[in-house]
Amino acid sequence: MKVYLERTGKEVELRATDGRDLLKQLKIPEAEAILVRNNEVVLPDEALRETDDIHILSVVSGG
C-alpha cells in the first residue's frame, strides 16, 4: 500500500495488516497520528488492504 506521511511530506510503500501494525512499522505513536483512507478515518484496529492509499495526518504541530 502507498502511505503518505503528512509530517515529513514523504510517501512510502509498505505492507501492513491493520492501522496499528502500520504505525508500529513506521515507529509513530498512536497518540500522534490519524489514519485516513479515501477521505475517511480508519481506526488503528481496522484491517488494511494491499491496494489502500493511506494518509497519516500528524497530530503534532506548532511550536
Binding site: 505513536p29 500522534e32 490519524i34 478515518v41 481506526l43 495526518l57 504541530s61 506548532g62
Partner: protein, 304 residues
Amino acid sequence: MECACGKKAVYKGQGGALCQTHFLDSVEKKVERTIHEYGLIKKGDTVCVAASGGKDSLVVLFLVNNYCSSHDIPLFALAVDEGIEGYREHTLTDLKTFCEKGKIALHVVSFKESYGKTLDEIHEKALKQFNKKPCTVCGVFRRTSLNRKAKELGATKLITGHNLDDESQSFLMNVLLGNMSHNASLGPVTGLSDNESFVPRVKPLYFVTEKETRLYCFLKGFKIDFAECPNVHLSFRSRVRDWLNQMESEFPGVKNSVVNAFLSILPDLKSKYKGKKEFKTCERCGDPCSGDVCNACKLEEQLS
C-alpha cells in the same frame, strides 16, 4: 468498530468509540462545559482569541466564535507574526482565509513592528551570545505582544488554544525542572495575579486533546497546512511531548490523568503562591513586572 448509535466510529477515547456526529458533539460539549464550569467567558466581556492559524487556534476560534455569537458577546482574533520564515506565513494565510469566511475581525501584530527584528534575525544572537533558545525569546515576546495589543483593543478576556496535551506537558516540565510555583499559574484560567494590566488568559480547549483538535479540523474540513516550527527540536517541551505521546499510546488516558492530578492540587498551589509575588511597574514600558525592568524590555535591549 461502531459508535453506540451503530454508525462507524471515527474516534476511540476513554468514553468509548464515537461516530463523526457524536465525536464533533462531544468536543463541542466539552468546550461549552469548560467555559461554563470555570466562568471563562461572561456577558459583558470583549473576547480576543489569540490565533495562529494552526489546528488548535482554528478550533478554539470556531467554537468560541459560535459561543459568543449566540450569547451576543463581541469577539475578534489576534495573531502574532514572529517572523519565522517557512512556517508562520503559511499558518497566517490559513488564518486570514478562515477569518474572512467566518466574518471575524483579525488583527496582526509582528515582532518586527514591536521589537524592530524578526525572530529569525534574533535567533543566532540569542543562542550564541546569551545562550537563550529561540523558544524562550519567542515565548516572552509573544505573551507581551498579545497582552499589549489585546488590552489596546479593549479585550477583557484573552482566549488561547492551549489543550490538554499542552497542559500535561507544562505541568510535567515544571515538575522536572523544580518550578512548582510556575504550576500555580496553570489551569483553565492562567495566572496568579489580579493585576489589571494583564488581560485574563483562558483556555476553553483545556480538556480537549491535540488528537481531538486535529480530528475536529479534518472532519469539519478546516484547511490547515501541516506546519511545525523549525525551532521546535530545540525545546525541552518537545522532549516531554514525545515521551508523553509514547506513554499515551501504550497506556491510553495518562495525559488525562496527569491533568486531573494537577487540578486536584491546583487549589493548594494557588493558596501557597498567590499574592507572594509583588508587582512593580517596568520603568521602560509600564507593564507590570517583578523587577525594575520587565523580561520583554530586558530581552529587547540584549538583542538589539
